[in-house]
Amino acid sequence: MEKKETPPNFLKSIWRFFATVKLTVAVLLSLAVTSVIGTVIPQNQSSAAYIDAFGEKLFRIFGLLNFFDMYHSWWFQLLLILLTVNVIVCSLDRFPVIWKIVSVKNPPFNVRNFRSDAKKQEFVSKKSPNVLRKIYESFIRQKFRYCRVEGTDNGWCLFGEKGRWTRLGAYIVHLSIIFLLFGGLLGSVFGFEGYVNIPEGETVDSIWLNNRQERHQLDFEIRCEDFDVSFYESGAPKEYRSLITIFEEGQPVFKKNIVVNDPIRFKGINIFQSSYGTDAADTATLDITSRKSGLDYIKKVKIGETIELPEGIGMFSLKKYSRNALFRGHDIGESFLGILRPKDGNPIEVILPTRFPGFDKMRKGELIISIRDYDKRYYTGLQVTHDPGVPVVYIGFIIMILGCFVTLFMSHQRICIETIKTEENSRVMVAGTANKNKLGMQQKIKKITENLQDHS
């Protein structure tokens, strides 16, 4: 063949390089091997955690190699780009040839090729070729989409085929990969992933972006009306549920209970239940026991408030709430801190752990104070994401499954039946080929032959 324009050798050799399956195999295996790194080294941790785990020296080397965020590193992205270019170039390189084969209107057949097939089947029928022709043609037409019969010198020849288009299967899969990578790119450029913690009853209009100390402004407001967590008898969590209302310009526009696996989707933004916690409590009910009189008093007090203690002992102010208070270096869990001011004497700091009601006895004061009850406020932890690439990726998923099915399980099958008139009867030859699963095709030909024999 003569080409008018030959590209420069250098471009040609680059094209050749990207069009090889060797490159595909090399890139796929490199992706497989390097991906292991990020599963062994936890990703996106703090520097301190890494130095702790690996020491200063390895920390620096790993840092230089981007091992701490390797799936977003330049070299991993480069491998992905190589794969994409490889997929595209391979497809473009082979496509014209395959297209020529696939788009043909009248498929060419050569009976000689079938005759020389080592696995061909042969039998003899008592009927004449003309009688057989009708029976066989209608039989083959049921099984193969394309069928034509040609007369020969002393009989006829039937060709049938189906699944010519399945030769495009690999291109369907490759197309899906391009969809996936493009969808991923769309998501990373135009999307975001973040989180926000909202105490019950409060409203936010911005979120924190993951892995970045940056806030992202939303164009609506999210209010957590209520949060509930329920547990199984075993203590394992059963359900996390947040009642969320969306506000636009101060007006509630959408309300929904969200649980794990059932998020809110609002204007392309998804809001997921992801964690929870208890927020600072602001009111506590105190149990006050007097050692002198043995009497019990119950008083409700807000943080920052000061109350008068019974029996004229003095004043008490509740200072703050702490989720995990420390006492002599030990974590004693949720606690309130207060200041006791006796009528005569110095102010004393009092720790009131919610879990240990008898704790204040140790102080050996005139009064024993403990927390009877307190208003705990939950906050809900929401994951907030926006990814315009998702529809593209999902289309990619569908194409990929279809493409895999076509490529792996469907083939271009061709069959040839030749009937030759002998003196008293007909000699029949059946042979077939397939571009994939040749053993399967052989079995199919055997079966068809048996069927034809039964019919004749």
């Binding site: 998804n270 907030v384 990929m400």
Partner: protein, 279 residues
């Protein structure tokens, strides 16, 4: 009889089937192989009955869910899918020697589930993350894929120990024809690949509906992708470069190692799939 008792019994039945298949192969006793098929079938029925009963029991406990939610349940399901796929292969290829390399895998899976002290066989309520319609679709597709890869692994081992040569006599000579082994490996891998792809996709769709992202490079996700890369390398090498025999067998073994790590090894690493872990 409760599901645990049935599944323990199933373990014994699979053990017997595995023994019969190996016996039939090593001592050339065809009758043992034929009995082996029936015993394996019985094991499969027991396995299925155990799974269904466990499902019913979970509803009776008021925490009804498909028995596919932890390591114990997945291993039990794995054993059943291996046996089902093997029995289909046996029926199609009319060869029982493959059973000596496939049924022991089913036995190992369910024996590990039943006997390991680290694996909890109690029916547990579903944690919030697993309460989804995607649970069944995701686990079933993944394990059909894994089971096909497991049998492909067994067949590849047969190919390797046979050394890819034609033996005149001895135990190894009774192994199926090299060509059959090679083709069967590839058929199983293609089948497994379709389901692995489906498993990764259902997982991605589920992740997107539960956590708002379809891919997050969590170790289990990443390892399933590594497995996918290995098998797609194999398929490309076969389709485009015509690889056969030993090289395909080695890639198939490598692929199954990746499957095993995706399944068990990842539990040693930090990540979101921890409910598949011991305990």
């Amino acid at each position: 009889m409760n599901s645990s008792a049935i599944l323990s019994l199933t373990t014994l039945v699979y053990g017997l089937a595995a023994f019969l298949y190996i016996f039939a192969w090593v001592f050339k006793k065809e009758i043992a192989g034929r009995v082996g098929t029936w015993v394996a079938f019985l094991g499969m029925v027991g396995n299925l009955a155990g799974i269904i009963l466990r499902w019913i029991e979970s509803y009776q406990m008021g925490i009804g869910h498909a028995p596919l939610s932890n390591l114990y349940e997945s291993l039990v399901f794995f054993a059943m899918t291996i046996t089902v796929i093997y029995l289909v292969v046996e029926h199609k290829y009319g060869n029982r020697i493959i059973g000596a390399f496939a049924i022991p895998l089913a036995f190992l899976a369910i024996a590990y589930a039943s006997l390991s002290p680290n694996i909890n066989d109690k029916i547990q309520p579903l944690i919030p993350a697993l309460k989804s319609n995607w649970l069944i679709a995701h686990v079933v597709t993944c394990f059909i894929g894994y089971a096909a890869f497991a049998i492909a692994f067994g067949v590849s081992i047969m190919y390797i120990i046979k050394g890819g040569t034609i033996r005149e006599e001895g135990v190894l000579s009774r192994l199926p024809d090299n060509k059959v082994l090679d083709e069967l490996t590839y058929q199983l891998i293609m089948f497994g690949f379709l389901f692995l792809t489906g498993g990764i996709i259902t997982g991605a769709v589920w992740a997107n509906s539960a956590w708002g992202r379809y891919w997050g490079w969590d170790p289990k996700e990443t390892w399933s992708l590594i497995t996918w890369f290995v098998y797609s390398t194999l398929i490309h090498a076969r389709m485009m470069r015509g690889w056969h025999g030993k090289r395909i067998a080695f890639l198939s073994i490598l692929g199954f190692m990746a499957v095993i790590f995706t399944y068990f090894g990842v539990n040693l690493l930090p990540g979101l799939h921890s409910y598949g872990a011991m305990g």
